[in-house]
Amino acid sequence: MHIIDRRLNPRGKSLENRQRFLRRAKDAVQQAVRRSLQSGNIRDVLNGGQVSIPIGGVAEPSFRRGEGGVRDRVLPGNKDFAEGDIVPRPEGGSGGRPTEAGEGDAEDDFRFVLTREEFLDIFLDDLELPDLAKRRLSETEEVTPTRAGYTVSGSPSNIAVGRTTRLAMMRRIALRRPKPEEIEALRREIEECESEEKRLALEAELKSLTDKSRRIPYIDPLDVRYRRFENTPKPVAKAVMFCLMDVSGSMTEHMKDLAKRFYILLYLFLSRRYEKVEIVFIRHTEKAEEVDEETFFYGPATGGTLVSSALLAMRSIIAARFDPTDWNIYAAQASDGDNSYSDGSLVGQLLQYEILPLCQYFAYIEVGEEGEDSSTSDSPIWNLYEGIRSDILPLAMRKVCRRNQIFPVFHDLFQKQQAHSKTEP
């Protein structure tokens, strides 16, 4: 008998099968993920979760009998039936066979757990930053090695065996290096040779051949070639996302919650999808400050409202750190729509003539109170932006009042668009 300890065998033997299954069920899983996002708490949901999908596309059919027909069946545990009794069919059961619930067709929904990675991948699958057009050759470290012919020096790991042996063979043929078979044949001839004279001649020939083959090596250092690689710079799209959030006193807890949810989604999306995206967090009351993400999401603040302060801050940060010729610039602004009256014209000027021309895309989210109808009275900022909006300027605006609207709006704003993708090189 053998005892084998398999516990240390590599894990995840069925991972490949699982991925194939997810690929197969992709559409259904995607819909399920969307559904679970609308209901659940974002933090929980993004930790991965259980989804249930309809069995449709992943059914494994087989020839089976269906309903109907005359059936006989033996059951255990008779209590008081006598032969010839008639038992009424149970109400409501299909076909009145209460005992057959376990036959397997009850599987109309298929439940399973997705890992966090799988969940996020599916969740962010069809989103992208629009109009990521400015792809500059970066002067920095982004390079990929590409094949560039052969060289006579290099590291042993790059030795090009095929090329080396080919050169060696060319040289051997050119210099007429005697083949081992020839020498062997000569040796045999000598052994079989009877006349002394001929033998001597043959031996002389053999000597000259062996000398020659010793002089001309099988592989010469001259033959050795190495694969050559050249580093070619890789085009990288550099992008920066400005997150502008109003944290003034007029924003209620609910509004802040909505705004933060939106930014959490945005943050997740950018950090997972793009390696080279800078994110700048700016929050503002009547004055704006650049903060780190911790403060942005969790730091308390309150005060009046001056939207222009945030735009000014954004402008100065762009001027200082992000050259618009090199960087794709994006901004997402969340606010309750209130602004001090005198600030309106300044905001309009800044946005229309300074900020928007620099941006690839500017998304504005207006958060409202729960239960508020998003189509009622428009706020000062909404009216102002509505006036600025035109076909040329990349400004998108949405209103959000309830939690379950966050994801659809977000998805809507960052969905892959045919028109945009055409502009990409």
Binding site: M1, H2, I3, V70, V87, G96, G102, F112
Partner: protein, 521 residues
């Protein structure tokens, strides 16, 4: 043996912890009883210790240690995992593979008593059954199966590289849908030899490569014989019709399949055939294993090798395993094969050692023969569930389990008729009906390929013989038929005919050109 003799009288283990020497001691002690006292005949054992995750892995690839890749296994894994994580379902204690050496998996979470139970159950009970039952001897090749699966896995992976994952997946989907009708039900002339399979495949391919000559393609076709005059009988004979092994038929006769697709059908067919005996012997197989583990554990206890506490712990698990809820219990789903098999075997032991007059009348051959183990060994070797229940379900057991038979006729509006109970008049009827429920020839719908319209549009004709007005499931049948049409590449017609040869229903499927990308001609 010498080592275990020394252990005699001493406990095999104390407490619940175990290590590898413990497993070895348990195995040796079980072996002594199994071979010495019960006279079992087993394949060499290989015991593998695995984690619960690996157990889930094994579940999803139908218990085999290695298997080809397909999304459906991923689906099963996800399904089992979800249940297991939520604590809704326990994992099986063991999985045992009908191979030589016979591989049994032990889960590391189990304590020493459970390991002893599992070793007795799987490594001796199932193992003996696999090696001796006639169905397994006839249809499975224990020495070759692991090698064959290795070949299958590699072959399918190579096909994926050559012909693309999608094409292979579609072929497998279709083959899996027909798997239940991809077995030979009656023995042919030759015994299966899975080890030869890989060689045969290589030879076939080598031969094809050797005789390939592109010129043949350009030779003008000769005068074609008119097909219309070939009689129906001749045509059927040439195609080996009627044929109930649909996968076999497709592999041999589907006109437009690529050679690699035929080989995949062949692989699926072999796997289905390998599991075919297990489907027919659930009650016997589990009954044997349960009976054997009960005997062995009891003997170990009697010999003082297992402490009283552990023995009680064993009895508790054993009782759970052989629990049969009655029909009106919330937990009832069907007969528990462990319970039924174990009860019948205990009953046989009673009949052999201590028969009543009734037993002597019903079982004259075995009543009072007084050597239960040898009687049972004969039974284990030469019966399957259907014949086992049909022969050995005794009136005593029918009374004890209070079995009764229901007759459900939709035309009877009053309700369901109780057609037999545990009395003189009912014993034989109940026994016959229960045996029939274990006859897969009865429970699986009988579908046959009956004709191909070779002269016309090459439509394939299948027939389902409807029993008791019990039709096929409409939507499932449509899906399966679609797969069948895709493989056949022409229209497929399935007729459901009743006992008077009248067609009651027809299903038609037209092929989708799914494999178009992989066709060259």
């Amino acid at each position: 043996m010498i080592k275990t003799v020394k252990q005699r009288g001493g406990l095999l283990f104390e407490g619940s912890d175990w290590d590898f020497p413990t497993l070895q001691r348990i195995h040796d002690a079980c072996e002594e009883i199994a071979l010495g006292e019960l006279g079992l005949d087993v394949y060499p054992n290989q015991i593998e210790v695995i984690t619960s995750e690996q157990m889930l892995d094994a579940y999803s690839s139908i218990g085999m240690p290695l298997f080809y890749r397909h999304w459906s296994f991923g689906k099963h894994f996800a399904h089992h995992e979800a249940f297991y994580r939520r604590g809704m379902r326990d994992l099986a204690y063991e999985i045992v593979i009908n191979s030589s050496p016979c591989i049994s998996y032990l889960m590391e979470e189990n304590n020493a008593t459970m390991q002893a139970l599992v070793i007795a159950h799987a490594a001796f009970g199932h193992n003996h059954f696999f090696k001796n039952n006639y169905l397994f001897k006839l249809w499975t090749d224990a020495e070759g199966i692991l090698g064959y699966l290795e070949f299958a896995k590699g072959y399918i992976a190579r096909c994926e590289e050559r012909y693309g994952e999608t094409a292979v997946e579609r072929t497998l989907d279709a083959a899996h849908a027909l798997m239940s009708h991809g077995v030979h039900r009656y023995a042919g002339k030759t015994k299966v030899d899975l080890r030869q399979e890989e060689k045969r495949e290589q030879e076939r391919r080598a031969h094809e490569e050797q005789v390939f000559n592109d010129l043949w393609r350009t030779v003008p076709a000769g005068h074609k014989r008119s097909r219309a005059d070939i009689s129906l009988d001749k045509r059927r004979a040439a195609l080996g019709l009627p044929q109930d092994n649909i996968l076999y038929f497709l592999e041999k006769s589907a006109p437009r399949l690529q050679p690699w697709q035929r080989e995949i059908l062949r692989i699926v067919r072999h796997v289905a055939q390998y599991f075919h005996p297990q489907r027919q012997t659930k009650v016997m197989n589990e009954g044997t294993a349960t009976y054997v583990h009960y005997k062995i554990m009891t003997r170990l206890h009697e010999r003082g090798q297992i402490g009283d506490g552990h023995y009680l712990e064993f009895l508790k698990s054993h009782t759970n395993v052989v629990f049969q809820p009655s029909y009106d219990d919330r937990r009832f789903s069907d007969f528990n094969p462990y319970a039924l098999g174990f009860a019948m075997m205990q009953d046989i032991e009673r009949i052999v050692t201590n028969p009543t007059d009734e037993d002597r009348e019903w079982f004259p051959d075995i009543a009072g023969r007084n050597d239960p183990v040898s009687v049972l060994r004969d039974i284990w070797a030469s019966y399957r569930d259907e014949s086992f229940v049909g022969q050995f379900l005794s009136p005593h057991l029918i009374r004890q389990w209070r079995l009764f038979q229901l007759h459900d006729d939709p035309d009877m509006l009053d309700g369901i008729l109780v057609s037999a109970i545990h009395d003189e008049r009912g014993y034989r009827r109940i026994r016959r009906q229960l045996a029939r429920e274990y006859d897969i020839g009865w429970t699986d719908p009988g579908i046959e390929v009956v004709d191909v319209d070779l002269a016309g549009d090459r439509r394939l004709l299948l027939q389902h013989k409807v029993l008791n007005d019990w039709p096929l499931d409409e939507s499932e049948t449509k899906l399966v038929l679609q797969h069948l049409a895709d493989l056949w590449s022409y229209d497929v017609l399935l007729q459901e005919i009743d006992s008077s040869e009248k067609v009651v229903k027809e299903h038609v499927a037209h092929p989708r050109s799914l494999f178009a990308d992989s066709r060259f001609s």
